[in-house]
Amino acid sequence: MADGGDEPEGPEELSNEQKTEIAKWFLTNAPDGEIQYVAKDVRTIIGNDEIYEMAATEAFPVYNKAHFVALQMPDGSGDVLITTYGELDKNTYLDPRTAQVATVDHVKQVCTKLRPANDEELPSPYIEEFRSSLDAELSKYVAETYPKGTCAIYCTKGKDTEGPGADFELVVVICAAKHSPQNFCNGSWHSIWTIEFKDDLQFVEVKGQIQVGAHYFEEGNVQLDAKNECKDSTILQSPEDCAISITNIIRHHEAEHMASLEVSSSILSRFYFIQLVQGIVLSVNFLVMQASYVNLPDTTFKDLRRKLPVTRTLFPWHNTLQFSLTRDITKELGIGK
């Protein structure tokens, strides 16, 4: 195999399939917003464009869907989210808000074409009323909460239901990403809310999964990964009233998760904790409440390494002879470990 010529003739030369698999692994494991950088590295390392492209064709769609990549639609009507919920086939995705179908180029991460969705691709008018009411209400929340947030609501079950009398399910995807490679950091917020409308019980069940990630890589590589799941419910009402109560549920749980994140990270850093308390008045109640769980915010880190030795003074490197002596004595007395 010609591999650009600089591969040594080692006994364990990898097959092309193995190289493709490795390239795919790196691509799909790229942190949020970093796949293009990883792709560049992988292409260089593989040193064979054919293999690289084969891997990219398979890995990018997986990555784009897992990270809910938002692509600008060419007509300027907003972003279409790449999600499994909106996937019609490998390269086409539904944007439920504008009722359009976007054709995307996964590897370039751009939307190339748009067409109006046809009736089979859209939910019934009855469902659409629930969906669009919630969309309107939720978009307001997302716009005021996430500076770079996008949301989309899909009907995932019972989309052809014509009127009361049957169950259906909507899925809300909220995502926000902030990428600043020049400052060596990237972050993302994803939440998925599955909303089951149960007609017989006149009941709406809301289940949420929230995932927050951040990556800071100046002179190092530090990654945060926080996940949470929650559950709530409300009664089945008119589309408008449902929209308001569901948005309230989502707002409440997301705020709660954010507050618990602040507690978690403040456990790690007393310094930041103080900044938080000074800066974020609103979360203080939460912090105080939860802080009792965690006692001293500094203690988590202390379980790994103390700031100062148990003796509270720097280690006596000048006078280490004492340790060897004590060790000898303990050994002789047979009380060593």
């Binding site: 692994w25 590295d41 990403a177 800071y216 850093s269 379980d303 390494r305 280690f315």
Partner: protein
């Protein structure tokens, strides 16, 4: 090689072993460089003779065996494995004893090992290793961590003496991972690795161990602060950027 190192700082530190083995198989001719520049989670082995654990690394490896700093023997047994010279072994024994006490005081547990060997330029190199499991089931006294580990690798290159002073060049890496978990806030995990270097010219009047020890202590303090404040602070700040606290309050968050 540059591309490989860039990948290593992008892929999650939790996946560093998989990433490295993938890179090694793709770039066999760079394996020496990769192994020396990428740090992996430290492995521990039991010194059967003294029933004491020691840490494995490239510096105490000969063929497929690793030398214990405690008994100075290779496990699994290896005839004619390389051993440090008499003078260095003396320093190594002392360093191991003292470093174990140092770690007891800072880490309240953990495994340590120090390896010392000659370099080509009449100086020597010392490698100080620490592995601490701070999880609830490990040696975390306070029990806040579901999973938590701190691993440090300090390599000190000590040049030959010149007029009573010597140049010490320290490269330190800390790898850390921790997970807290509870019902209300879900799982929260942070992992990372950072590496720093420092060099100092010091009088050898105080002895090598004292000089090296002080440098390591200072460096560890700095690294801990960086991880604690800068890195975790940064990732936190990132999250606040994504979802800023309600208006008004936002204005008071520190810029950048």
């Amino acid at each position: 090689m540059e591309a490989a190192m860039d990948l290593m700082r992008r892929i999650s530190p939790k996946e560093s072993e998989t990433a490295l083995s993938a890179l090694l198989s793709l770039l066999p001719h760079h394996s020496a460089d990769l192994l020396s520049q990428v740090d992996l989670p430290l492995q521990v082995c039991m010194d059967d003779e003294l029933m004491k654990e020691f840490i494995l690394c490239e510096y105490n490896r000969d063929a497929d065996s690793y030398r214990s700093p405690w008994s100075n023997k290779y496990f699994p047994p290896l005839e004619d494995g390389t051993l440090p010279s008499g003078q260095l072994r003396k320093l190594e024994i002392e360093a191991n004893e003292v470093f174990a006490v140092y770690c007891d005081q800072y880490y309240e547990g953990g495994v340590t090992s120090v390896y010392i060997w000659d370099d080509e330029n009449q100086g020597f190199v010392a490698c100080f290793l620490i592995k601490k499991d701070g999880s609830r089931t490990g040696q975390g006294r306070r029990g806040y961590l579901q999973e938590g580990s701190w691993e440090a690798i300090h390599v000190v290159e000590v040049a030959a003496e010149e007029g009573g002073t010597t140049r010490y060049c320290l490269t330190s890496t800390v790898m850390l991972s921790l997970t807290t978990e509870n019902k209300s806030s879900g799982t929260f995990s942070l992992s990372g690795s950072i590496r720093r270097q420092m060099s100092l010219d010091l009088s050898i009047a105080d002895g090598h161990l004292c000089n090296m020890g002080k440098m390591i202590e200072e460096m560890e303090g700095k690294l801990r602060n960086s991880l604690d404040q800068v890195y975790f602070g940064k990732t936190r700040e990132m999250v606040c950027n994504l979802r800023p606290p309600p208006e008004g309050i936002q204005l008071r968050l520190p810029e950048n």
